[in-house]
């Protein structure tokens, strides 16, 4: 008597092949039941769950990223990338048969924008640490930019930048919510070591 292959049984299990033969043949039925037990057991693997507010949090993040993309940052970056592409094209000594390396241009522009962001953040945090009465009006903008840069760094696989941006984000969130001149805040900024990390980075890039 003809018997089913293991592959046939898998297709039957998933409803992609008729099961008539399994009903009629005791040998194939026994093998099918074994396969059923195996595949049913895969459902026993515990999977962590997320709470009921998970969707709301995801949607809030999507909105923030999209709003920024569609608004100020989107236009500013598009302009900066276009300007850099133009600049790069002007630097070409003669027409080249090589395609313009837009990715390189984009990468350099993003790097320059990131350096500028780190410098602005370093200045703002230094003011807070050194001056009891310092009030940083731009902290919300810094925080929003920081989130975008962090996502870009993540997408680009820039682990070092991403880590620094993550640490900065934590600090900027605290700054955004803490009262002006809070000594605890100053201590936390110092303890977190972000100012030191920013100085090291700036020194490496030659901007200090």
């Amino acid at each position: 008597m003809h018997h089913l292959t293991d592959e046939d049984l898998v297709l039957i299990y998933y409803g992609e092949s008729p099961r008539a033969h399994v009903e009629e043949c005791a040998e194939c039925r026994a093998r099918f039941q074994q396969l059923q037990r195996l595949l049913n057991s895969m459902d026993a693997a515990p999977v962590p769950d997320r709470d009921a507010s998970y969707g709301a949090r995801i949607w809030a993040n999507v909105r923030v990223v999209e709003a920024k993309r569609a608004g100020r940052i989107g236009w500013a970056w598009a302009g900066a990338i276009a300007a850099a592409a133009l600049f790069a094209a002007m630097l070409q000594p003669k027409p080249s048969t090589e395609p313009v390396a837009m990715e390189d241009v984009r990468s350099r522009v993003l790097e320059a924008a990131l350096d500028s962001h780190f410098e602005s953040t370093r200045i703002a945090l230094t003011e807070i640490v050194n001056d009891d009465a310092a009030s940083i009006d731009t902290v919300d903008d810094l925080l929003a930019d920081n989130r975008l840069f962090r996502q870009s760094a993540h997408a680009a696989g820039e682990v070092e930048s991403e880590q620094l941006l993550e640490d900065l984000e934590e600090v900027l969130v605290e700054v955004a919510h803490a009262p002006t001149g809070s000594p605890e805040l100053r201590q936390r900024i110092e303890k977190k070591g972000v100012l030191f990390a920013l100085r090291v980075r700036a020194a490496k890039e030659g901007s200090l």
Binding site: D6, L39, S41, M42, A45, R50, W59, N61, V62
Partner: protein, 195 residues
């Protein structure tokens, strides 16, 4: 029957929400995120095996779906569409992290099944199943998760992952064979635990 009509009702309200988003009511997308984010998380976790990676995949999946909502075609349900975006992103995440570097051929040529001593160390069901899943190549893991957990047909998986139907079938078959090799001795124990 009740489940089928519930699913159909859900698909209809998904379609209504998609229609609202396309015509300018961007906040209607919130309904789709609310409804599907937790199941997308579970799928992403099953493929990546990491909560942090799964969270990132969910975030990126809905961002991408929001940007490409006009490309959605109602030939598949929104749940299927979003699942395949998530599966592809989860695959990309694993490739980037190079967590799974072995190719199908490499795995097939070597005896990748852990020995009884190693399995005995991880008696918890989750650990054992995770050990088994880690024997699968990226393609096998994704195809299997979409077939087994998401209930997508071989044809749909092939289309969404850009594979031939035969390659997709073979991925699922190889996945089951590898799972059988590792999990075979444990199936009885699992069933006792489930009961």
């Amino acid at each position: 029957m009740a489940v089928t009509s519930l699913n159909r009702g859900m698909e209809e309200t998904d379609l209504a929400a998609i229609g609202r988003v396309i015509t300018g009511d961007r906040d209607a997308f919130a309904l789709l995120v609310e409804r599907h984010s937790r199941s997308v998380f579970r799928l992403a976790f099953r493929i990546t095996g990491s909560e942090a990676d799964a969270d990132e995949v969910v975030q990126e999946t809905f961002l991408r779906a929001f940007r490409q909502i006009h490309r959605y075609e109602s030939r598949a349900s929104f749940a299927t569409w979003i699942s395949t975006i998530a599966a592809n992103l989860a695959l990309d995440t694993l490739r980037k992290r190079k967590r799974w570097v072995a190719t199908d051929e490499h795995i097939d040529k070597t005896d990748a099944a852990p020995g009884p001593a190693r399995l005995a160390e991880s008696r918890r069901i989750g650990d054992v199943i995770e050990t088994a899943m880690n024997q699968l190549s990226l393609q096998e893991r994704t195809a299997f998760a979409l077939r087994h957990y998401e209930g997508l047909s071989i044809e749909a998986i092939a289309r969404e992952l850009g594979l031939s139907e035969n390659a997709t079938k073979q991925s699922v078959f190889r996945a089951v064979a590898k799972l059988r090799r590792v999990l075979g001795p444990w199936v009885g124990v699992f069933l006792l635990c489930i009961i």
